[in-house]
């Protein structure tokens, strides 16, 4: 369609003015929930997938997260941080389901580790595939994986992560350093297993 025709079309429609729309803006809870919570669905699903390791489980958890969020939505204030609120509910649901994930023997978060972490691990080789990165991530213990996902992928601040996981900020920092180092160590193993420069097409 020609642009000039399109312009005529709009005028004929007598579009709502700013003020007439504003006066109609009395949104129901359902409308607010849709508008604020639904855009987070893809991000939450991808995190749930990495936490549960399986698509069916991740879907089930998502159903539960949104149901619980909806039931308590009257306590959520519009225009505040919906994302962190939903992530807090996600981690609550996941840990409720699979308490055993969080019963991994706690690796010692001490200077002993910090010392080891100072030795820079090998760089992530270019030919490592996304699938291999995901596999390596899925293999590191859940408490480290959670923090790495929240900081590296979802880009939450340390303080927000502390709030979402209900752990002290110092613990966020130590788990993050250790999680990143574990991830790179695994990826270095993958890279050396294939030999330098060999490309292995494999994706998840």
């Amino acid at each position: 369609m020609e642009v000039s025709q399109a312009m005529t079309g709009w005028a004929a429609d007598a579009p709502p003015t700013f003020l007439s729309t504003a006066s109609r803006l009395d949104l129901s809870a359902a409308e607010r929930f849709e508008a604020e919570a639904m855009p987070h669905l893809n991000d939450l699903f991808r995190t749930a997938l990495r936490l549960t390791g399986e698509r069916g489980n991740a879907e089930d958890v998502m159903q539960e997260v949104y149901l619980q969020a909806w039931r308590s939505f009257d306590r959520f204030e519009s225009g505040t941080n919906c994302r962190a609120w939903l992530y807090k509910i996600l981690f609550h649901c996941v840990s409720h389901h699979r308490r055993k994930w969080f019963r991994f023997p706690l690796l010692k978060e001490t200077e002993e580790f910090l010392e080891a972490n100072l030795l820079a691990p090998a760089p992530v080789a270019e030919h490592v595939t996304d699938g291999e990165i995901l596999k390596a991530l899925d293999e590191i213990p859940a408490e480290f994986r959670s923090v790495v996902l929240l900081v590296d992928v979802e880009e939450f601040a340390y303080k927000e992560v502390a709030g979402i996981l209900s752990i002290p900020i110092g613990t966020v920092m130590s788990r993050l350093s250790r999680g990143r180092a574990l991830l790179r160590k695994r990826l270095a193993e993958v890279a050396s297993a294939y030999g330098i420069g060999k490309t292995v097409p494999k994706d998840n």
């Binding site: 369609m1 709502p16 409308e31 604020e36 699903f45 959520f76 100072l118 820079a120 939450f156 303080k159």
Partner: protein, 290 residues
């Protein structure tokens, strides 16, 4: 940091803070200490680059995972079957979550202002944008990020970015159309094409002494979706919203584009602009994209 700025001991201290540094979680002085060290130490510089690269690879890998097409609808069906939220019931979990989130936002806000991000270096501007954007969904971040980068920071510090002549010709028709729907007390200040984080935007800025509103349009990339069937669609176009600190975002998607209004107006007012604008703008963009 101690006086030991170089040598093996210094590298150990830098490496111990490197994660906090690349996450923009250090105070300005500490960051500057590290930057000074990097100027003389290629090993630590390389390590910082490697960690950033590892983070980017991980982001791409996780975000590249396929999200089942029907998931949104299945979640919505389940919600429809459930009861409306009941005000009298007690949800300790939800209360705890809300409190934690409020506290977190407050602390972030204070941290940013202590940081003086708006006045300072590129690095601190990036950390300012990251701290705010991190609080909204990835797909909302696209528009919010460009508003912060271009309208809030760049245009403020650079008076040369004014006027509407930098707008590609095919988008010029947006201007008279958009004018109908934006409140008359917010005059058009800038209309141009800009880029942020490797992505191009059509960006219209409306500004008066008190308020700032951006209309941001970006081409959709593979897998990017706000969700296509929001209930908030009186005007026929599903609209999604987010709020973080003083910024309010409303967004919709067309076949080829993601469209955002981002402003420091009240939530309802920002949303009202988008609701009024969306049907006509979506039609126009569909015609242009064809």
């Amino acid at each position: 940091m101690t006086n030991t700025k170089f040598g093996e001991q210094a590298c150990r201290q830098v490496l111990a803070r490197l994660d906090s540094y690349i996450d923009n979680e250090l105070l300005t002085e500490s960051s500057l200490d590290l930057v000074e060290h990097f100027e003389r130490c290629t090993a630590c510089t390389r390590e910082a680059q490697e960690r950033r690269k590892a983070r980017t690879r991980l982001q791409n890998a996780v975000r590249g995972a396929y999200v089942p097409a029907g998931l949104e609808e299945r979640v919505r069906d389940r919600l429809r079957q459930s009861q409306q939220p009941h005000a009298k019931k007690f949800y300790p979990m939800a209360i705890a979550a809300t409190l934690a989130v409020c506290l977190g936002s407050l602390l972030t806000y204070q941290a940013i202002y202590r940081f003086g991000a708006l006045r300072a270096t590129t690095a601190s501007q990036q950390s300012y944008i990251a701290a705010i954007s991190g609080q909204v969904a990835t797909v909302i971040r696209v528009g919010l990020g460009d508003h912060l980068h271009c309208a809030v920071i760049r245009q403020r510090s650079n008076a040369a970015i004014r006027g509407i002549d930098k707008l590609p010709a095919q988008y010029k028709q947006l201007i008279p159309m958009v004018h109908q729907y934006v409140p008359a007390d917010l005059p058009l200040s800038v209309a141009h094409e800009c880029s942020f984080q490797g992505r191009k935007f059509i960006h219209l800025t409306f500004r008066n002494g008190r308020s700032l509103l951006s209309l941001v349009i970006a081409r959709r990339q593979a897998g990017e979706s706000l969700g296509a069937t929001s209930l908030l669609s009186q005007s026929g176009v599903p609209i999604y919203t987010a709020g973080v600190q003083q910024f309010q975002v409303a967004a919709f998607e067309s076949r080829d584009f993601l469209v955002y209004t981002v402003s420091d107006l009240p939530h309802q007012k920002n949303l009202a602009v988008m609701i009024a604008l969306a049907p006509t703008l979506r039609n126009l963009l569909d015609q242009m994209g064809a």
